[in-house]
């Protein structure tokens, strides 16, 4: 039953899972086994870049779960992503050990620089991987739980909720910029050396991180798919479409919202945790409201409420960003701004919606042609 539900697929799903599967095999081979001078070699830079896109895709999927299926437009999902990233960053920081600039066995460089005597209490335990991973899940999850419980219980909805989530990430941004917070202030956490004993600079580690990201994305997709097709998912969708009616039928709408919001935040945190070891830095700019809003555009461009559409949108926008900020850095803000306007005005269902409607459109064109030319032809032959 469960397996059947997971396997019953449509095209987008097959393409997503298929691509991820192929990438899991091709990228490691092309990077590690194919010699560097070959045309089929994939550089480590590209591997890392692809891994970054996959993390963004995972983040976009998390947002789609809450926006596309529950109608909660969160403008603060970047905050959960960054918190997950910081938890991972703290683990990686502790792994540096005495290899820092100041060579202090316990304190990270920035703390030595600030003349701190000992590790703040909230840094304890982060030298253990399992604890850090627990925090990757717990910190964003708890924040989302508390915030969501407060917000949804008082029926803060729609635009108000969006602005509140934005205020949340903005407040965190301001707080994390402070040196006194103990998270490296402006510069954030960086100069990581290794993860679980493997050097972060080595190609193998990079490839492994990429594969882990791909698998995580695939699992997240299957998990989200499972959630939205479950009975609970159906109720969540009902909440999206008619909040009041669902309430009147007897469901505790706020509980469903809190639940889906928390799950989504946890997924965002996982995306952040995978992102940090690959890019090698986490700093407060990840809390920028701009980043969270940009994330919304990824989902909107791909097509909300489809999950794979969100992943597609994240990859498209970020690929365009990588290419454009390299080739025409001046034009990128115009392009991104134009994209915001274009997507909201003319692509309400995103690229996926466009592709889905393409066969219908083609069919209608063919029918039209058939009628037009067909009558002409018939007219010709009847004479």
């Amino acid at each position: 039953m469960l397996l059947g539900r997971l396997i019953k697929q449509d095209w987008g799903r097959s393409i997503l899972l298929g691509t991820l599967g192929v990438m899991c095999v091709v990228v490691p081979v092309a990077n590690l086994l194919v010699p560097e001078d070959s045309a089929f070699h994939v550089s480590t830079y590209t591997v890392t870049l692809l891994g970054k896109y996959l993390c963004y895709a995972l983040l976009a999927m998390a947002l789609d779960l809450v926006w596309g299926y529950c109608g909660i437009l969160s403008l603060g999902h970047g905050a959960f992503f960054a918190l997950g990233g910081y938890a991972m960053g703290m683990y990686l920081m502790r792994q540096i050990g005495t290899r820092g600039v100041y060579g202090h066995p316990e304190l990270p460089d920035f703390m030595v620089f600030l003349n701190w005597e000992e590790l703040p209490w909230y840094w304890f335990g982060f030298d253990a991987f399992w604890f850090a991973m627990l925090m990757v899940v717990l910190v964003p999850g708890l924040l989302a739980l508390v915030f969501g419980w407060l917000a949804f219980r008082s029926r803060v909805t729609g635009v108000y909720l969006s602005i509140m989530t934005q205020a949340l990430t903005y407040a965190l941004l301001l707080a994390f910029y402070r040196n006194e917070m103990g998270f490296g202030g402006n510069n954030g956490l960086t100069d990581f050396k290794d993860i679980l004993g493997a050097s972060l600079q080595s190609d193998v580690t990079r490839v492994v991180l990429f594969v882990v990201s791909a698998i995580a994305l695939a699992l997240t997709y299957l998990f989200c798919r499972f959630v939205v097709t479950s009975k609970l998912g159906r109720v969540v969708t009902a909440v999206r479409d008619a909040d009041d009616r669902t309430r009147f039928i007897g469901y505790r709408v706020e509980n469903y919202k809190v639940w889906i919001f928390t799950v989504s935040a946890v997924l965002a945190g996982i995306a952040g945790a995978l992102y940090v070891p690959q890019v090698g830095i986490i700093n407060p700019s990840e809390f920028e409201p701009l980043k969270s809003i940009e994330l919304v555009v990824w989902v909107a461009l791909g097509g909300r409420g489809t999950l794979y559409g969100a992943a597609l949108g994240a990859v498209i926008v970020n690929y365009a960003k990588t290419w454009m900020t390299g080739a025409f850095p001046e034009v990128w803000p115009f392009a991104l701004g134009g994209l915001f306007i274009l997507v909201t005005l003319s692509l309400p269902k995103g690229v996926v919606g466009l592709v889905r409607s393409l066969p219908y459109w083609l069919a209608s064109r063919v029918r039209y042609m058939y009628h037009k030319w067909g009558s002409l032809i018939r007219a010709k032959f009847s004479h």
Binding site: L73, L75, F147, L150, A151, R153, S154, R155, V156, G158, V159, Y160, S162, I163, M164, Q166, A167, L168, Y170, A171, L174, A175, Y177, R178, P289, L290, I293, V296, V297, A300, E330, P333, F334, L336, G337, G338, L339, F340, I341, V343, T344, L345, P348
Partner: protein
Amino acid sequence: MKVAARSSTRIEFGRWVRSCLVIVVAAGLVPCFGLEEKSAIDASFQATVDLLKTRSFGEKAEAARAIAAHTHPRTLEVLTALLDAELYTERKTDRVVFANGLDGGGFNIRDAVTGEGLGQVGRRGAKKISVNNRLRGLLRGLIAGIRLDDKDPDDRIAAAEAIADGADSSMREVLDARLLVESDAKVIAAIETALVVFDLDANDETIRLRAIRASASNLDGRVREKLTGISNDPVASEAIQEAARETLESIEETVARYKTIETVFFGLSLGSVLVLAAIGLSITFGVMGVINMAHGELIMLGAYTTYVVQTLFPRALEYSLLIAVPAAFFVSGLVGIGIERGIFRFLYGRPLETLLASFGVSLVLQQTVKTIFTALNRPVATPQWMSGSFELLDGLSLTFNRLYILIFAGFVFAALVLVLQRTRLGLEVRAVTQNRAMARAMGIRSARVDALTFGLGAGIAGVAGVALSQLTNVGPYLGRGYIVDSFMVVVFGGVGNLWGTLVAGLSLGVANKFLEPYAGAVIAKVLVLVFIILFIQWRPRGLFPQKGRAAES
């Protein structure tokens, strides 16, 4: 030809040298034929100055007093030079001279009495007239005494303060003498402060006690310092210590009170900026249900308009703001109407989509401004009448630019309320807000009302930009810092309620400024944000929610 020309040049050069010589000689002779009175006063001053050529510091002090009492115009210069160790005697002629050290080790000397340049002498050619610390204190007092008779009241205040700092009680008479003829209130206050400072050190207990009592309303730092010293001074009697402590307490109280008033003022000033930034948003958000994330950029356009106006009319800097206000209203208003007609028109009833689209607009506007004006901050000048500060009470001054912006915000608010309550447009706007379908049925062209309302809100954002250009740097990202705050103000005050926006903006500003000293600027802001997030749980529709059917949608 050439040779002839050269020789004629030489002849002319010779003539020139000769005439120069004549002039120099004549100039040298001028003092001999100079005015009788002038040379008389010079002579008497010369005699006084010559008294300095002694080894005894006591005699030097006498000489300095005599110089200070002299009416010669160069007294101040001589005393200052003596204080700064720039007064020397030339060895050869034994004249008193001003000497400026040269890089090579010699001196550039001028006569102390006539001020006439005497050329350069070697390092050993002049001998310094040495002074000790006691003499220095005396000199400072004497100089201050002379400056106390200056024409400029600011100079007189500075002189009185210098005397108070020097704490040389021999200056009392000078102060007392000046007090009799002084008419400027501020100078009188400064002199009285100096007198109190002297009296606080008096040996006579009654004078001391009186001085302590009298200083209760005095906020001068020196007085407070003296009082603190007295209250901890084991030599002073119990009564004096007690009195000093009491007085100090009352002074601290006054200072604390002033500090509070100042904080409230700063808070109101910040609040007025928030109100200016948020009020346009309140209209577009409340009336039209449109989330305009580009509102900050409309503010930024207003600030840049100020810059452009100042660049176009550099001569009319004093009036530039008066021109900039309508210009900014016009520019931002037009851009706003453009956005409404081009984008928002298609998105009514879908607030989340307007949020995204307008965010795109904000990116485009930022980048456009960056392309035209570069990413660097543009300098916007502050007119003369807006700089400086206004002294409300002694020790409590308010800066003019903040004061004017507070008044300006009130003015804009009043104008907006009038427009919405008293004009045809306002009536139509309120009608469309309450029930769009019914308003249309009554013949109101709602599309036109939408465009004009949006233009109005955008125009006010532009006007806010003019005010902000006087407070912060004008750069392409000016608006970004205000957008979240503005939304907070609108949400806190209750959407679509102008009075709510006013109350919310001012109270958030004041709250922010009161939290700042305890928590630091950043944490204060974070606390305010957290407070609003919690507040919204309690009252999801803000302080003053809209009532009636309009609120249900």
